[in-house]
Subunit: 145 residues, 2 copies
């Protein structure tokens, strides 16, 4: 077997009801800017690839798409259906990001503690979960840790 | 408004029917190793945090969880329901990763081309979509591009 190809994070994909409203939320709340917009005829969808440094979020707007299932709005009920669930970003300090996001008017779900660190879940403007994790050993070890 | 807190990618979370089987798949297919296992009583779930360099995948096994909705198995039908959809990893060359994953027996969905680059979607052992993106300008600019 050949050596494995190197992998980096590229993006997480989210289907949203209103592309413009979600572009505004990810810009104002998290500092993402539009890198590219495109139409994907095969879906069909209007798509925006957002970028913040090395991080990307891909937003899809599909006409007539079904609403976010209610149980997906809560980190504790979301895993009760199999599938891709959420993306988590690492932060140096959860209290700092929670305070920053609260000040910006974010919908904070809860702050929790796990063996791997402290975390906060928020919902984006459309109810999609986004997690932020404080893992001290990761941050201390630098960008590639 | 204060300066924004720095963000890095931490993990993507996936709910799976069989934790051991998914740990094996992410190890054998993508080279992720178990970093930590834990129980989250609030869900309740058995959880494994997998790690490959700076990348992480968090697997949840919830007893009695509902099956992955059929439309979530296809990148073109998945966005027809609002919600978090997939994670994408950047690779230097899509053909190389597609060949590597085919050799390892991956369930390849399709290879496609977009304004931002070439990509391939695969399904994990439980049918969850994983994307790999070749974006030449990103790779050339280094790890933080």
């Amino acid at each position: 077997m050949k050596q494995r190809a190197d992998l980096k994070f590229h993006h997480s994909g989210v289907s949203v009801p209103n592309l413009a409203a979600s572009i505004a939320w990810y810009r104002d709340m998290l500092g993402f800017e539009v890198d590219q917009t495109m139409r994907i005829d095969a879906i069909p969808a209007e798509v925006a690839m957002l970028k913040r440094g090395p991080l990307r979020v891909e937003l899809f707007e599909v006409k007539g798409a079904a609403a976010l299932p209610e149980r997906r709005r809560d980190p504790q009920t979301d895993p009760h259906t199999h599938g891709n669930k959420h993306v988590a970003f690492a932060v140096e300090d959860v209290d700092t990001i929670a305070a920053e996001l609260t000040e910006r008017g974010a919908d904070i779900v809860f702050v929790g503690r796990m063996p791997f660190g402290t975390f906060v879940f928020i919902r984006d403007n459309a109810g999609n979960l986004v997690e932020f994790v404080q893992q001290p050993d990761l941050w201390a070890a630098g960008a590639r840790a």
